[in-house]
């Protein structure tokens, strides 16, 4: 431990032990514990206690005085546990009877403070920390702690109950580990006493008629099989499996969620390979008798397993397909929608749950919405997995997704009574719409027939065009549309869009045009994001260009640069920038119009210098960087003017992210002029022929005041800006290392005052570089500045001062006694 911390500890312990001294902040005690954990991980706890007797005094004091605040008591219990995690320290504390006093039956459990959840939680966490060695195990068994843990599993505090369950899992595992014999570490078949006790408790709980007790036992077992993969878990399962199976025979099945979790946890355990037979039986039974909602999660879990038996896979997939099959069946017209009657043979044959699913679907709106959303999400999760069922019923699933979307939209009708009820239930249901659109998007990754693709684009058109679509649904519809367009099959060797998407796109632009005028900013923003993506992918294609330019979308996009909502302005900047890159910008209506004359570049510069919000300004610099990279015509016309203007505006920006992006732009410019940065592992190649000679570049950097901008950024009070500036200057230093200019820094005019500025900056003051430095002075300044050292300092993050243990101890001590009105005034 740091000597300074050692010096501060006695005073802090005394303050903690004094119940009249309130502590400022709960977080301080948490941070203090974090620090002790770090210290004890690195050095001996015993030594720490011996060198700092104040710590033991604090623990003894806690035992003696029962009027201790619950926070300090809880802290002390956790602290004692942290120290006792090392066996020698455990024995040391045991000798003083401290541990028995703190964790034994006569300890805090009998105090009034036990009614405070924080204390019970501290007690469990303390035990959890100390339970690391065989001595601790004996202690747990002998002190009666295990029985207390059993009772705390039902604690009204969620945190205490959960921690108690986790402690039982840990104790069981530790106990079995300690019972393992021989150098192979194999378990010899006799359960250690502590484990036997826990087992007995679990068996009793599983047979209980009280659902909470069954849930607790199932949760402990789920964690056990999830974490412990030793051979003894197989015996554990063998012993408990019949009890678990018996739960499935009860009506209603108790703790169904936890039961599903347990079955999945056992199925995933690598230690249970040979006893899977009985497990599969239990799973099959569970799939049969659980409600469709509960069975769905189990089915998905089973299908994800690489070693699930085929029969069970068929049953599980049947469970997942059932709700969709029911919807399609209930709404089927003659002739049905394409694909609806083509479920793969076998998958739905043995679906005993069919009537149960129908009942659930039709029982109430919330049940119907719940099961459909869950099923769609589960199938979405299953689709990309390699172990998904084969053949994958792509067409019927597509048909089902389209049907559901139509039901929600009100464009599907059904004459059957079940279908009619579904229509009424799902009409306008946003949750199902969103889930179905997500699922539809996932299905775009598969092959499909042209007819179905047509159906999909038709339903997407309905959603994109419908005035009833909510903004969140519309956003999903855009995302799904993009996925379908991107995955649309193309003619080999031809990058153009297929006939179907093309037809769709032609109809899409009038819709986008309308949507760009939506009163909802969310909608306008989603359209602009979509448009940016569209033009990024297809901006170069003739058909796309024709369709886009025939619409008013480019004009509207440019108009949205003035949108009252800053998010929309930012998206409009990105979209207009992208369109302009592709030569798709709006044609000026009247050349006399000032905006038209100004051009997009002027308009974006205006946003950069005047917009009151950061998002649009950041978007502008991003667009400019892309333009510079791509050699946009407006930039290429006079790159130097462009860089100088942008950097001048950016350097004044109050948003540090804009300044960082300005530096990024400067770096792109430098790379274009000087070539890529040297990679230390790369074979040295001659510099790219396009790179401009260095003296010439340096001249231009001075003209553009890029040096000035970068050095100013080094002085920035926001760390990322200084970091980026450092990176940029290091690149420059590296590139100019071989360049001439052999004069010493002090000999060059301007360089000396530059040095002075940098020194002032080092002293924490602000300063400015002289305005008109020459390349040589700049070069000298660059060479004489310890950029590497600065980079290392900045990489540390500037909060090391706040996080240091000394700072924490000082803050805690400083707070003692000065607490007044300040404490309660949070926001």
């Amino acid at each position: 431990m740091d000597p300074e911390c050692s010096r501060l500890l006695p005073a802090l312990c005394a303050a903690l032990a004094d119940p009249r001294q309130p502590l400022a902040d709960d977080t301080c005690l948490e941070k203090l514990l974090d620090w002790f954990k770090t210290v004890t991980e690195a050095e001996s706890s015993l030594l720490l206690l011996q060198e700092n007797p104040a710590l033991v005094e604090l623990l003894s004091h806690v035992l003696k005085s029962q009027d201790m605040s619950s926070r300090v008591l809880s802290f002390s219990l956790r602290l004692a546990g942290t120290f006792a995690a090392q066996e020698d320290c455990f024995l040391y504390l045991q000798q003083g009877e401290l541990l028995l006093g703190l964790f034994g039956e006569g300890g805090p459990q009998c105090w009034a403070a036990w009614s405070v959840p924080t204390v019970r939680s501290g007690w469990i966490q303390g035990l959890r920390s100390l339970a690391q060695h065989p001595c601790a195990l004996h202690f747990l068994a002998d002190s009666g702690a295990v029985d207390t843990i059993f009772s705390l599993q039902g604690d009204p505090s969620l945190f205490v109950a959960s921690a108690a369950s986790q402690l039982l899992v840990h104790t069981l595992a530790l106990s079995m580990q300690a019972g393992a014999t021989g150098c192979s570490g194999l378990w010899d078949g006799v359960w250690p006493a502590c484990a036997q006790k826990i087992m007995g408790h679990l068996e009793e709980s599983l047979q209980s008629t009280a659902a909470p007790q069954v849930t607790q036992a199932l949760n402990v077992l789920t964690s056990t099989f999830g974490r412990c993969h030793s051979p003894w878990t197989e015996t554990l399962w063998g012993q408990l499996c019949p009890l678990v199976a018996r739960l499935l025979e009860r009506t209603p099945i108790p703790a169904a969620h936890s039961l599903v979790d347990l079955l999945l946890s056992v199925a995933r355990s690598p230690a249970l390979s040979s006893s899977h037979g009985r497990l599969w039986e239990a799973v099959a039974q569970a799939l049969r008798c659980l409600s469709p909602m509960q069975a769905g999660s189990l089915a998905l879990g089973m299908l994800k397993l690489p070693h699930c038996p085929q029969a069970l896979r068929v049953q599980a997939f049947g469970v997942l397909l059932q709700p969709l099959a029911c919807v399609v069946k209930a709404t089927a017209q003659a002739p049905g929608p394409p694909g609806c009657s083509m479920w793969p043979p076998g998958w739905l044959d043995g679906a005993e749950g069919s009537s149960l699913t129908v009942d659930t679907l039709l029982s109430s709106k919330s049940a119907c919405v719940g099961i459909l959303c869950q099923t769609l999400a589960q199938l979405e999760e299953l689709q990309p997995l390699p172990q998904r069922p084969a053949p994958w019923p792509q067409e019927p699933l597509l048909g089902a997704a389209v049907t559901i979307l139509r039901l929600c939209h009100g464009s599907a009708t059904s004459s059957s009574s079940g279908g009619g009820r579904l229509c009424a239930t799902l009409a306008g249901c946003v949750r199902v719409q969103r889930a179905a659109l997500d699922f539809l998007g996932t299905l775009s990754q598969e092959t499909r027939s042209q007819e179905l693709e047509k159906e999909v684009f038709a339903v997407l058109s309905e959603y994109l065009g419908s005035p009833d679509s909510s903004p969140t649904v519309l956003k999903k519809a855009f995302q799904t549309t993009l996925r379908w367009l991107l995955s649309s099959p193309r003619t080999p060797g031809c990058p153009d869009l297929g006939p179907q998407p093309l037809l769709f796109l032609r109809e899409l632009f009038p819709v986008l045009q309308k949507r760009l005028c939506s009163p909802s900013w969310e909608v306008r923003d989603s359209v602009l994001e979509f448009l940016t993506q569209l033009s990024r992918h297809w901006g170069g294609q003739a058909d796309f260009r024709r369709a886009l330019l025939a619409s008013e979308v480019p004009t509207l996009t440019q108009q949205l640069l003035q949108d009252p909502e800053s998010y929309v302005r930012a998206s409009a900047v990105a979209a207009a920038g992208q369109l302009s890159s592709r030569g798709l910008q709006a044609a000026p209506d009247s050349p006399e119009h000032p905006q038209a004359q100004q051009g997009l570049l002027g308009e974006l510069l205006c946003i950069l210098s005047t917009d009151s919000e950061g998002f649009p300004r950041r978007a502008v610099v991003q667009v400019f960087t892309e333009w510079l990279r791509d050699g946009h015509a407006d930039v290429a016309r006079d790159t130097e003017w462009f860089i100088a203007t942008v950097l001048q505006v950016v350097s004044q920006d109050l948003d540090w992210e804009v300044r960082v992006q300005g530096l990024e732009l400067a770096q792109v410019f430098l790379v274009q002029r000087l070539g890529q940065p040297r990679c230390p592992y790369m074979v040295a190649l001659p510099e790219a022929a396009s790179a401009t000679p260095i003296p010439e570049v340096l001249q231009s950097l001075c003209r553009l005041r890029l040096f000035d901008f970068a050095f100013r950024a080094l002085l920035d009070c926001d760390r990322p800006v200084a970091q980026k500036a450092c990176e940029l200057l290091l690149f420059l230093k590296d590139k100019t290392a071989m360049c001439g200019g052999l004069q010493e820094a002090g000999d060059i005019p301007g360089s000396a005052s530059g040095q002075v500025t940098l020194q002032r900056w080092r002293a924490g003051e602000q300063g400015q570089l002289p305005g008109d430095l020459q390349p040589e002075a700049m070069l000298a300044l660059l060479r004489s500045t310890d950029l590497e050292g600065l980079q290392a300092r900045l990489a540390q993050s500037s909060d090391h001062m706040e996080k240091s243990p000394q700072s924490l101890l000082q803050d805690m001590l400083a707070t003692v006694g000065v607490l007044g009105e300040n404490e309660a005034d949070c926001y």
Binding site: F159, S364, S526, S798, M801, A824
Partner: protein, 513 residues
């Protein structure tokens, strides 16, 4: 889920709630119908982008229009601090904040919003900050009111919280000032103005570290009015962008401010400041007195820290901390009285300037909380957002005064409330007619005993006559006959005795009917 806040005191996972307590394996959206955000403070909405974009909640989020507008500004502010100062990479991004805000459904005050078939919510004015709301959440005949943070006394720009007599089953109320009867806000304001004035009078500089939006605007109005009244010429500066931004939002949501501002808005907009100018970094070195509002509010990074470093060494200067500071920040250190601060690179900064703490937080005090309980008339009260010891005092007071149960669960603790929900039961016309036929006219306010058979079909309950029940359920009627042998000792003739027994039984059975 009511609110989705964060703890600014931690830099790791502990700063956000542990959502795995909702579900470990399932999708969060399956477990929650909606999220309701009461107002834009980070302890109420700071975890929202993390929850919706990183943990994966995909359902609706409800908040008022001003909260929807201002929330992203504060989230952005916080994100930038986290990424800048702490250099955290695994944090929500700007895009995530935007995507999260797109999931928001904005609500108007007193508008009943149907979340789904069963759940409806309604917002009430809460004072506290612009756009803060209390929410009534209703399922069938049962309801809960969640107050968020509220203020029962109007301040310079906001009105007092108000709720109608909605008699919820449960009122969940904040209890920050559970034992305090706050001194009048006027006194605190006077104190603040006096301190600022004295400092600038003797040529000192005043630094007020603030967060982007909220209390800063209130203090600006205060100084602006005072400067106007006293005809002061000392410059007041505010980080550029913030005043415009605040002005924009307060104008946009003028209906959310108090009556005075609304009335005078046409003549003079209170948020168009004459004396408060945009700040430039170079101004910090100017000689002479000045007042500067700078961000961030805890003096842990950026502009406010930079100015503090410049001014700390002069005893004529003053720093006024108007809010909470997390341990480890310079703000926390100076508030706890530390005067020698170790800065980066082992430099020691000696703080000679005066350090003042001014509380302007707008929470209801004990009196205000009692007032709200009186207004809403809940069946039960649950105290949150406060300290256990203080809550205990208030709990007893509420139970004594209103004769309702009051709870104060610790974090993570479950409270179970007994309620008596009303279950609607339909009565068949036949049964009603039969009752009417017996000559008893129905009286609305008088409870009446009605015999029939209760049938539950398709989750609906109906009371019908037993004949109709049998018919509807397709059941046959069964009659059970009981016989028993009774020995009577009567001296009369056998026939006469039989007749007496028969007439006795007949009369009792009639009575029974």
């Amino acid at each position: 889920m009511l609110d989705c806040g964060m703890h600014m005191g931690f830099n790791d996972d502990r700063r956000f709630p542990d959502f795995s307590y909702i579900t470990q394996n399932g999708r969060l959206t399956d477990f929650l119908d909606c999220v309701i955000i009461s107002h834009f403070h980070l302890d109420h909405c700071g975890a929202l982008p993390y929850f919706s974009e990183m943990v994966g909640y995909d359902g609706p989020i409800y908040m008022t229009h001003p909260t929807q507008a201002i929330c992203p500004i504060l989230l952005e502010d916080y994100r930038k601090i986290a990424v800048d100062k702490k250099g955290e990479a695994n944090f929500f991004t700007s895009q995530m904040i935007k995507d999260c805000m797109k999931k928001v459904v904005a609500v108007h005050l007193h508008q009943t919003v149907q979340v789904d078939d069963e759940l409806e919510i309604k917002a009430y004015y809460a004072g506290h900050v612009l756009g803060a709301a209390m929410f009534q959440i209703k399922v069938g005949s049962e309801s809960v009111v969640y107050t968020g943070d509220y203020n029962m006394t109007p301040d310079r720009h906001l009105g007092a919280a108000w709720i109608d007599r909605c008699r919820p089953n449960l009122l969940i109320t904040e209890s920050t000032y559970a034992t305090t009867i706050r001194d009048s806000k006027r006194c605190r304001e006077r104190d603040f103005l006096k301190k600022v004035h004295e400092t600038v009078e003797r040529g000192g500089k005043v630094l007020i570290p603030v967060f982007a939006l909220g209390r800063a605007q209130e203090l600006c109005i205060l100084l602006e009015t005072f400067w106007e009244r006293m005809n002061l010429k000392v410059p007041i500066y505010f980080s550029t962008g913030l005043t415009e931004k605040a002005n924009h939002y307060y104008k946009l949501f003028i209906t959310w401010t108090n009556q005075k501002i609304r009335k005078t808005f046409v003549q003079r907009n209170m948020f168009e400041f004459k004396h408060i100018k945009a700040f430039d970094r170079a101004f910090a070195d100017n000689p002479g007195p000045m007042v500067v509002f700078a961000t961030p509010g805890m003096l842990h990074a950026g502009q406010s820290l930079q100015i503090f470093r410049k001014w700390a060494g002069n005893e004529k200067n003053m720093v006024i901390m108007p809010g909470y500071c997390v341990q480890g920040t310079v703000g926390h250190k100076i508030l706890s009285g530390q005067r020698k601060l170790e800065m980066e690179g082992r430099q020691v900064l000696e703080v000679k300037m005066q350090v003042e703490y001014m509380s302007f937080s707008a929470h209801a005090d004990a009196k205000g909380i009692m007032q709200l309980v009186g207004q809403a008339e809940p069946e039960n009260v649950l105290l949150v957002h406060g300290e256990a010891k203080k809550m205990e005092f208030l709990r007893q007071k509420i139970e004594q005064e209103f004769r309702v149960s009051c709870y104060m669960p610790a974090n993570g603790e479950t409270v179970t409330l007994p309620t008596s929900p009303n279950i609607p039961v339909g009565i068949s016309l036949g049964l009603l007619k039969r009752e009417m036929a017996q000559g008893l006219l129905p009286e609305t306010k008088k409870p009446r005993l009605l015999h029939g058979t209760l049938i539950m079909k398709d989750s609906n309950l109906r009371l019908v006559s037993s004949e109709q029940a049998l018919k509807e359920l397709g059941l046959a009627e069964h009659q059970l006959r009981f016989t028993c042998r009774v020995h009577l000792q009567d001296t009369r003739k056998e026939q006469e005795t039989a007749l007496r027994v028969y007439s006795h039984l007949k009369s009792t059975s009639l009575m029974a009917r």
